[in-house]
């Protein structure tokens, strides 16, 4: 930081002063008192605060700051205060890698909480491997990955997509026989739909009863697709839509459903990317009865959840601020990291990675989530119905906690693979060839 200020002083031009001012602002937020910096443990926050993903990721940045604040009130970790280092990768995937490198090698953070999209996670992976640091990834994702340096606290496909489909196939879910898999055109929907297609076929659903549809990011004209869904749904069999439509495109999609009069009793939509935050931009009355599958809902009645919501709204000074599933995953990940550091009695990367599997932390719905050797966690799965007030009403849940499965059992390439960082020390161990190193 000092370097920037110096160079700006040498060349007093506008651009220099601007970057100096920006640099100073970062210094001010990052290190309030340089003397105290010696005694703190630095925690990196790598979430987009500008650009398209800011809509979702800003909340997660606030969540980490909130957790750090809470932990410091309890006296910090290992007798040291925690200190947040916030950077803004601006929804720009290569910038994620650059900022990750900056956090680890320049700011010397001990752990990073960050990323939302799979492509941003893929872009920082090599950096975390090379510099040997720890990333907690808090969002539901397509699976098919397990890395030594990454801990996945969001849902794997078997913790969200597959239970949701099971629910729809059950009597209570409407005994659905025909399926529309609709998604935005990128890696998460494509992989999830590939897994779901294989799963549905394994359950005896015919090829003709599955319709797969992809749309570009931010798609806003849903007239044709909604009327296609209506047409597909009028073949005399109960039909449901499984939606992996991403954030922004959801509002026009649901508006079109409402306007064309498709009710949840005719064709229910179960969404994997629509949470309390996304519903904030919608008039939810026509959506009554459409579904979402998550591991957490704000409306779940549990003392831990009620306390969390109360403290969170006090921290953000907004009594209406919503909570959502990736926030809960961030909270679980943060608590697991704190426990692992206390168990290892150090923040050393290798020792914390070794300490994490087996660590348990309470989730906000009354259960105890556990970090597994494959770096995924156990979570309950809930299916919720959209209510008129923009919250969800839980209509179904799994009996216990579901362990996250890194490699799905329904795709030919990955069903032989296993991730185990405790005994096998491998993220893609092939059970058939008995070798570490993937499918081939």
């Amino acid at each position: 930081m000092l370097h920037i200020v110096k160079s700006a002083a040498r060349r007093p031009n506008v651009r220099g002063w601007l970057s100096a001012a920006a640099g100073l602002a970062v210094v001010a937020t990052v290190a309030a008192s340089p003397a105290a910096a010696q005694d703190t443990i630095k925690v990196g926050v790598l979430h987009s605060l500008s650009g398209t993903m800011a809509i979702s990721e800003t909340t997660l940045k606030d969540t980490v700051l909130f957790m750090i604040d809470e932990q410091n009130k309890k006296g910090g970790v290992l007798g040291k205060k925690l200190e947040a280092v916030v950077v803004d990768p601006a929804s720009n995937w290569p910038l994620f890698a650059e900022k990750a490198r900056e956090l680890i090698s320049k700011d010397k953070v001990q752990v990073v909480f960050g990323c939302w999209t799979s492509v941003s996670r893929k872009s920082v992976l090599p950096v975390f491997k090379e510099l040997n640091s720890i990333l907690f990834y808090p969002v539901q994702y397509e699976g098919e990955e397990s890395e030594r340096n990454v801990f996945y606290t969001g849902a794997a496909p078997n913790q969200q997509a597959i239970p949701a489909v099971d629910y729809l196939m059950s009597k209570d879910g409407g005994s659905v026989k025909r399926w529309v898999l609709a998604g935005t055109d990128y890696v998460y929907p494509r992989t999830t739909n590939r897994i779901l297609e294989a799963y549905l076929k394994s359950k005896g659903v015919a090829e003709a009863d599955i319709m797969i549809n992809y749309t570009p990011f931010g798609h806003s004209d849903w007239q044709t697709i909604v009327s296609d869904i209506k047409k597909f749904g009028s073949a005399g069999k109960k039909t449901a839509v499984v939606s992996t439509i991403n954030g922004d495109a959801n509002v026009p999609f649901y508006k079109e459903l409402g306007n064309q009069g498709i009710k949840a009793t005719d064709i229910p939509v179960v969404a994997f990317s629509v949470g309390e935050e996304e519903l904030a931009g919608l008039d939810t009355k026509p959506l009554l009865g459409h579904l979402a599958a998550w591991n957490y809902f704000q409306s779940i009645k549990d003392p831990a959840n009620a306390e969390f919501i109360k403290k969170w709204q006090a921290f953000t000074k907004n009594p209406k601020r919503t909570t959502n599933d990736p926030m809960e995953a961030t909270v679980i990940g943060f608590n697991m990291w704190v426990k692992a550091v206390e168990k290892a009695k150090t923040t050393d990367t290798d020792k914390v990675i070794a300490a994490l599997p087996g660590i348990e932390a309470p989730n906000l719905t009354g259960g105890m989530s556990k970090m597994l050797p494959n770096h995924h966690i156990t979570k309950p799965v809930f299916v919720g119905e959209i209510r008129a007030d923009g919250q969800f009403d839980v209509v179904w849940k799994t009996k216990g906690l579901v362990p996250g499965d890194a490699w799905t059992d329904f795709l030919p390439g990955s069903k032989d693979l296993e991730a185990d960082w405790v005994d096998l020390k491998c993220g893609n161990y092939n059970k058939v060839t008995k070798k570490c190193g993937g499918a081939s």
Binding site: A235, N259, E277
Partner: protein, 537 residues
Amino acid sequence: MRALYDRITALVFALGLLAAVAGSAHAGPYEDALAGFTTDSFTDTFEAIDGVVASGSPMAAQLLEALQDSRLQFSAAEKKVFIKTRDGALLDAATGEPAVGAPPADLANVRLNNRLRGALNAAIGALTLMAPDPGRRLSAAQSVFRSRDSSALPAVEKALEAETNARVKKALTEARAAIIVMSDDASPDNKIAAIAVIRDRSDQESLALMSGLPANAPPEVRAAATDAIAKIQSNLAIWRTVQNFWYGLSLGSVLLLAAIGLAITFGVMGVINMAHGEMVMLGAYTTFVVQDLIRTSFPGLFDYSLAFALPLAFIVAGAVGILIERTVIRYLYGRPLETLLATWGISLVLMQAVRAVFGPTNKEVGNPSWMSGAFDLGGILITYNRMWIIIFTGIVFVALLAMLRYTRLGLEMRAVTQNRQMAAAVGIRTARIDALTFGLGSGIAGIAGVALSQIDNVSPNLGQGYIIDSFMVVVFGGVGNLWGTLVGALTLGIANKFLEPFAGAVLAKIAILVFIILFIQKRPRGMFALKGRAIEA
């Protein structure tokens, strides 16, 4: 006299006794069914609905409608069920009388899931077939058509005899046919007659009904059904073409609306304005602010919110446009690359500013009641919001054209863009015209934002989604020509919608882009190029 008095006293006493007995001790099937609502279990609720319907109690319709509107409440501790009326009063569901004493502390709504809602719609349909209001009878008949619940057949037939309204009668006949087609015990002749009724209905739902015919149907019924399916499908295919055309028109009108402001700033003035999308966004946020104010202060005016938002959005976006022109763009005329970069920077600044003020999340902009829902036109469904946007776009286009043609400002604008020096020489203050033209283009973008807020997200990224499409339309239509923009937008919209069913949304978009690239190679000035000495900048 005395005898009469005695008799009346006795009667009153007897009536009172009767009422007391009915109120307390009587526990029939209806009261038994009510208990199912107090356990908060979907299975019990399902059985309770069946029980209530089977009981034939006069309370049944009121109770089920309350359940449908989530006004049915229960207390698990007291094992009692209450109906909350629309005015908020609490009735005891067992008696229909107002609840006595303070409401129980653990009062909660009876919850529903989709399976229950389906069963509920069917039950209410059968119960309200004889309702006095024809609208309710119609929707009752339609929900019986959907549920095909054979137990409703006697009720449908009874209602059919008494029905006088032609529309309701038709719906009832169709509902009756649907039940007969799906029932196991109707004779083949009856079924074939019913299939004919369904065939004449000829829409998506009748197709669903025909395709769902049980596999064990007699061969002559199957043949009639196959024949009906073919007829319905060929009828639907024609309507699908009409529908694609309508969707294309609607997409085209959205494109036109987004591009029309750009047709002024880019088309007429030649400024590559990357901040155009953000003007649209500002218009949408103005709508949000107006609606927010109306919601908190004058809820009765909500249906008129867009009328207030339109002029305000024009003023806000227009003022920002003039500000940008005066402070940045006027120094950059004739330097397209710098203009491009500067306006792109402005667009980022505006987006981040909105993010800082309103937050990064979507804002809820509601549809006024006259823009919600849809109506059937022959075989296609026309949604009100899309229809109004098409009409609105038409009005904006005509108004703009008239303004450019018949007003003094329009004349001066055309003069300045066609020959700046000569216009200045005859005494037109060109700098002022530049600012006003840019303001006009931006203001129209703001108006477009009001319309787009009705169909899209209101988020800081709103404008980003439209900027590429807008440039595409203006370049394709021919720079500097409003008619070109109109034809360009509609062509792209309709082409896109005819491609989408075959190619999918992603490929359709790519195909359109490739087509435009090839077209621009052939005709670099677009479809309707201005001839002569226009746009030298």
